[in-house]
């Protein structure tokens, strides 16, 4: 009997492995394989046009990136500036939006769909749309500023305003973060709010003492996803500003792309990719390490 049970569970395990195998094969073939390949390439001077002439250069690409290429630091600086602003923006606006969408108003279901729609629209189309909005002389952004008596700014044509313009653009995708918040907000028991109301807490107090602490797992998840996602910003810079003016919007991935597909230095570009991976790994690890101090999981022992 025990043997039959074992055989049955073995068959079940086999079936499970069979079912997950397409993903495993895809992961190994399309993710792990290229990662290993890029690690090896990063130690060579592999060029796109003459790959046969590739030579082993050891850590030279990493040395060049970290000590001899000012554009690496410039692109990291630009990207970090964008990430800090855009992540804060996404976390705050996303949470505010989720709180609003959590109110049981009529038609809120439609609103939820509407707010999520931008997340599924093509990045290139969105970029072109924002390019029109940010036209200095005829765009909507400066027209709105004008209504409040402010002078227009150069937006994507200005070294000062190009990154803030991209940050404003990022609000377009905030629906995804809002939905993660919404999922957790809807699980907060209403009796907690009722008890707090009985204790005399106002709506802001209830948000601060109940909603915010219980939403920290979603904040944490959104923080990690946003940092990883924003660091990889590419389409907007590629379509709208092409890294300019100057190098004021030369995002790291845009520079990496330029090195690979304009200068054909695939080995060096691979090293840049691994540097970005290391940066993201460090930031994510830091987020996880600090999370124990500020993320509250329901049911977890304090």
């Amino acid at each position: 009997m025990a043997r039959r049970r074992l055989a049955a569970s073995g068959r079940e395990a086999l079936a499970a492995y069979g079912l997950v195998s397409p993903w495993v094969i895809g992961f190994v073939g399309l993710t792990v394989g290229p990662m290993i390949a890029s690690m090896v390439l990063s130690l060579t001077d592999y060029g796109l046009v003459n790959p046969d002439a590739a030579r082993w250069v050891g850590g030279a690409n990493y040395r060049e990136a970290l000590t001899g290429d000012p554009l690496v630091w410039q692109s990291l600086k630009v990207t970090a500036y964008y990430v800090v602003l855009a992540v804060v923006f996404e976390l705050v606006v996303g949470l505010a939006l989720a709180v609003l969408l959590n109110v049981g108003l009529r038609g809120v279901g439609i609103l939820r769909t509407v707010y999520y729609l931008p997340a599924v629209v093509s990045g290139v189309a969105v970029s072109l749309l924002w390019l029109l909005i940010f036209q200095p002389s005829s765009g909507l952004a400066n027209a709105v500023l004008g209504l409040f008596g402010f002078d227009g700014v150069g937006w994507v044509y200005s070294t000062t305003w190009v990154i803030p313009a991209f940050v404003l653009m990022s609000v377009w995708g905030v629906g995804r973060a809002a939905f993660i918040y919404l999922a957790i907000l809807q699980r907060i028991p209403t009796n907690l709010y009722e008890a707090a109301a009985v204790d005399g807490l106002g709506s802001f107090g209830r948000f601060l003492r109940i909603t915010l602490p219980l939403a920290t797992p979603a904040i944490f998840l959104n923080l990690v996803l946003a940092v990883i996602g924003k660091f990889q910003i590419f389409t907007e810079g590629f379509v709208i500003s092409k890294g300019g003016p100057g190098a004021s919007s030369l995002f790291f991935v845009l520079y990496l792309y330029r090195v690979a597909f304009r200068y054909f230095r695939v080995g060096y570009a691979s090293a840049l990719a691994w540097i970005l991976f290391a940066v993201l790994l460090a930031l994510t690890a830091t987020a996880f390490r600090t999370s124990r101090h500020w993320v509250y999981y329901e049911g977890e022992r304090q």
């Binding site: 069979g18 079912l19 046009v49 597909f261 304009r262």
Partner: protein, 480 residues
């Protein structure tokens, strides 16, 4: 029917898996087979990338298509596929990706010298000399002025016999002007004769200033002029780079070990170009042009066509875009003289075969057919590109071919431009692409009036010189 248990679902799914997987595998195999047979059936297919410059305006396409059909008829079993990418930057990016994917186009036609220089030290271009010898084609068929560029002597050296492209068109530049705006302002039209006394950069600014208006109708020289509300510009679509040469500036002297981006001449010329926008307020930058013709893909083209720009730099290759369907009278004049030189831009276009082409002989045969047979060459260069034919046998036919299309335009100005034209901005030098790309980092702030050329160009020189020197640590000149 009893519901499936979880275990039954898993087991049946597994049993079903081969049924799903096998057709998938077979499908994948048959897909490969299809690719194979496709490659066989299109053995004579030649893919031509059009996007490294001119060639994609609607008026330019039909002559190319007709010539391609003619080639297909003359060469049974062959076909010509055009890959058209209207934006030059995008075309270059796409080309890089196609090279990387092993799917490179066979031919780039046309490409300017700049496009050739971008990839010259990457061995992207096939040396055509052997194929030329085999088919009896010689550079002697073409005007001598284009030979050095076709042979890329800056890279391969003067003694080299290599040829990287067959000449496809010669484009000189002139100043196109809106006659209606000149008449309305009561300003004398610019001279059509080259090297006319007093027609210099200072005079250009004076004329452009009289044709620039803010929303209250004031010119930049009048009190109260509001530079933030310009509704008509004296200049647009302007080549400020050539003004640097007019001031005597040069990026590089062939054979020199140093760049000269920080020379007084280069600084003066760069500053003069930026001052047109920020000091004189007569030139529409792309940003300002977008303001007078909102929502267009090409703001400079739209601004000119809207009749709100008085003068532009017009390449002969712009004739079929900037020159057609204008609702105003226009003509062309000579470029003004700079403090050190009278110079206007010269574009020379080529047809190249990509070294990774899997169909090199066929690709060269297409180039030979299109560019060396006189009638085809003239049709392509003049009717499709708006260029002067580089073929010796066809020289002088540019005006005859196009005058009917532009009866009120003094096309001789383009022909007479040739002795005053140069393409030295596009000639290869070590680390050409990277040094060119880094220019924006230093020069955009000058163009925006936030910094000066005197401040930025020494920094540019330092960074560019480092790239220049680095190039020699990883590359060797073929002549070395």
């Amino acid at each position: 029917m009893s519901p499936l248990s979880r275990r039954e679902l898993l087991v049946r799914s597994l049993q079903l898996a081969p049924v799903l997987v096998v057709p998938g595998v077979l499908g994948a195999c048959s897909d490969d087979d299809k690719k194979g047979s496709s490659a066989t059936s299109t053995k004579g297919a030649t893919q031509v990338l059009v996007g490294f410059g001119t060639g994609n305006a609607p008026e330019q396409v039909p002559p190319q298509t007709e010539l391609a059909k003619k080639f297909e008829q003359a060469n049974a079993g062959t076909s010509v596929d055009f890959l058209r990418i209207p934006d030059t930057d995008e075309a270059q990016r796409k080309f890089g990706v196609l090279l990387a994917s092993g799917d490179a186009p066979d031919v780039i036609l046309p490409t300017g010298l700049f496009g050739i220089s971008l990839y010259l030290d990457q061995d992207v271009w096939l040396d055509l000399s052997t194929l030329m010898d085999n088919s009896g084609v010689s550079l002697d068929l073409f005007e001598p002025g284009v030979h050095d560029a076709a042979r890329a002597v800056n890279y391969f050296g003067a003694e080299s016999t290599k040829v990287v492209g067959l000449p496809a068109g010669i484009f000189s530049h002139a100043v196109a002007y809106n006659k209606d705006l000149f008449a309305k302002a009561g300003v004398a039209e610019p001279p059509h004769e080259w090297d006319t006394p007093d027609w210099d950069y200072d005079k250009l600014v004076e004329v452009a200033s009289a044709l620039t208006l803010d929303d209250k109708g004031r010119t930049p020289k009048q009190p109260g002029f509001d530079a933030s509300r310009i509704v008509q510009f004296g200049l647009g679509h302007w080549d400020t780079g050539i003004m640097t040469l007019g001031h005597g500036g040069k990026v590089y002297e062939p054979g020199a070990e140093k760049l000269s981006l920080d020379s007084p001449e280069y600084i003066a010329g760069t500053q003069a170009g930026a001052d047109l926008v920020n000091v004189h307020h007569v030139l529409a930058s792309d940003e300002l042009a977008a303001g007078v013709a909102a929502g267009a893909d090409d703001p400079q083209l739209a601004a000119w066509k809207s009749g709100k720009v008085a003068m532009i730099d017009m390449c002969a290759c712009d004739l079929l875009s900037f020159g057609v369907d204008n609702a105003f009278a226009w003509d062309v004049a000579a470029w003004p003289r700079g403090p050190k030189r009278l110079i206007s831009h010269l574009n020379v276009d080529f047809g190249t075969v990509v070294s990774r082409s899997r169909n090199q002989a066929q690709a060269f045969e297409l180039l030979r057919f299109l560019l060396t047979e006189p009638e085809n060459g003239r049709t392509l260069s003049t009717k499709a590109y708006g260029a002067m034919s580089p073929l010796k046998s066809e020289s002088g036919k540019f005006v005859d071919e196009l005058q009917g299309r532009f009866p009120d335009v003094d096309l001789e100005v383009f022909v007479k431009a040739l002795p005053h034209s140069a393409n030295e901005q596009e000639v290869w030098y070590p680390a050409f692409t990277e040094i060119g790309d880094m220019g924006g980092r230093f020069l955009d702030s000058v163009r925006q009036g936030k910094s000066t050329a005197a401040e930025q160009l020494p920094k540019y020189q330092e960074a560019a010189q480092k790239k220049f020197d680095d190039w020699f640590t990883t590359h060797k000149l073929p002549t070395a």
